[in-house]
């Protein structure tokens, strides 16, 4: 019965040309693919029926009020796309129109996409920035101060980039006291976020005092790894203060916002973490002066105490010859003598120590101020005239030149001027 009906309804077409479905579909596909417009077209619409199977390809429908269009993004393209597609997004998709022959379905094979209106990357940047900002990742209270004298500086960057050499040169020049630990990372490309976060964690395990995350200049796309959420979170979670130096002065990445300090460039970051050796020299010199001053005023204080004791000794009434007073006088004399000895020793020590201080910085400076170094014939520096004999030969060294001399008289008891 069925066979009969089929025969009857198909009979009239027997003598016309008939195409197999496959042939027709192939023909249609060739027609579409030979159309220049359809092979290079931007289509705008709203994403719906978004599907991301495990194959990695992405399927969705672009639609507007009147029509809809099936779209495919192959996995290789999907991996290059930044940002998350979502149903309801208004986008412009670029690609070529062809036919999926099995379903007889024409569709758009997408090779790139952008948000309608503003740039896709920028939209994504703003969206992530707003989210992380709300989480508090960029809060000013989170920013930690940098150590003034870091002993160990960690650097996360490309091991082959010029940026690394620039930073090392700065550190070598300004602050060679520190040790640098370089944690190599890829700073662009698909693997960059993963290697950057791993390098950050690895360098932190070495317990540096501060970490620099840096990359030389590049396009917005080149710097994109530094807007990756994983990288931004790794910076925020880093137990050690992080300074970023990414791209050029005008480039701002989300990493910069999460860092404890954003430097405009890699070299700027190296400068930011390191004190300048000239400043250190001045700082040290100032502290040495403070040390000498503090010790000097302590000496003055002690000398004052001695003067007071001597004064009281001098004014003790000779009329009160009570045994008690007698004894007290003896005590005071004894104490004064001891103190006198201390002060002498101290003054001597002070002049030696001060000479030592100048010698530490510039051994010639003392001589240039008119002082001389006197040595005996064996070359030993003479600190005291005790033990010197009249007629003894000595050697006197001045800032410029030296001469030999003979002692005419020694005065070991004469106090220090």
């Amino acid at each position: 019965m069925l066979g009969h009906m089929e025969q009857r309804s198909f009979l009239p077409y027997l003598r016309t040309i008939s195409l197999r479905v496959s042939d027709l579909t192939l023909y249609l596909r060739q027609v579409l693919e030979s159309d220049l417009l359809l092979q290079d077209v931007w289509v705008q619409g709203e994403i719906s029926n978004l599907s991301r199977p495990s194959s990695g390809h992405i399927y969705f429908t672009l639609k507007d009020e009147g029509a809809s269009l099936r779209c495919v993004i192959w996995r290789s393209t999907a991996q290059r796309l930044r940002g998350n597609l979502q149903n309801g997004m208004a986008v412009e998709a670029h690609g070529r129109i062809s036919i999926y022959e099995r379903d007889g379905q024409y569709q758009l094979y997408v090779d790139s996409m952008r948000l309608t209106g503003e740039g896709w990357l920028y939209q994504e940047f703003l969206r992530l920035k707003a989210r992380l900002e709300q989480e508090g990742l960029f809060d000013p209270e989170r920013k930690r101060p940098l150590p003034p004298h870091p002993k160990v500086v960690g650097i996360v960057t490309s091991p082959t980039g010029a940026a690394l050499q620039d930073m090392l040169n700065i550190l070598r020049d300004r602050y060679p006291l520190c040790e640098v630990i370089v944690a190599p990372a890829q700073v662009q490309g698909d693997n960059a976020p993963l290697t950057i976060t791993a390098a950050l964690r690895a360098v932190c395990r070495q317990n540096p005092d501060v970490v620099i995350l840096a990359r030389g200049g590049g396009s917005l796309e080149d710097l994109w790894a530094f807007n990756d959420e994983r990288v931004v979170r790794a910076i925020a979670e880093c137990p050690i203060p992080v300074v970023t130096g990414i791209g050029h002065e005008t480039d701002f990445t989300l990493s910069d916002f999460a860092a404890d300090l954003r430097a405009p460039t890699p070299t700027g970051a190296a400068v930011a973490v390191s004190p300048d050796r000239d400043d250190l020299r001045r700082e040290l010199s100032g502290t040495i002066d403070a040390l000498a001053a503090a010790f000097g005023s302590r000496l003055d204080q002690l000398t004052g105490d001695l003067d007071e004791a001597t004064y009281r000794l001098d004014h003790l009434s000779p009329l009160r010859r009570v045994e008690n007073d007698r004894q007290r006088l003896d005590d005071l004399v004894e104490r004064a003598k001891r103190a006198q000895k201390h002060i002498l020793a101290l003054r001597q020590a002070r002049s030696q120590a001060l000479a030592g201080r100048w010698a530490a910085l510039n051994p010639l400076a003392v001589l240039q101020r008119g002082y001389a170094v006197v040595t005996d014939t064996a070359g030993r520096v003479l600190h005291s005239s005790a033990g010197l004999q009249a007629g003894q030969d000595v050697h006197v060294r001045l800032a410029e030149g030296a001469f030999d001399a003979q002692v005419t008289a020694a005065h070991p008891d004469q106090p220090h001027p």
């Binding site: 090392l168 791993a198 390098a199 502290t287 503090a294 030592g356």
Partner: protein, 74 residues
């Protein structure tokens, strides 16, 4: 407690101790002997700092494969 020999101190350690000594000399009324000992220690520390500052050479170490793990740790 015996103080560490100055030769074993880093710049930061030596400088911090130097500053502490200045503070002690400025604020505490130490005896002659104590003041003198502090002052001498301060001198030695200052010399150590000056020496480190002028002779230091940047040390650089690069982490290699075993220090770096690229697995996704999250």
């Amino acid at each position: 407690m015996e103080p560490t020999a100055v030769e074993e101190l880093s710049y930061e350690q030596a400088f911090a101790e130097l500053e502490e000594i200045v503070r002690l000399l400025e604020t505490d009324s130490k005896t002659l002997e104590e003041s003198l000992a502090l002052f001498e220690r301060g001198q030695a520390l200052a010399r150590r700092c000056a020496q480190l500052l002028e002779q230091a050479e940047l040390r650089i170490r690069q982490l290699t494969g075993e220090d770096l793990t690229y697995e996704d740790e999250d």
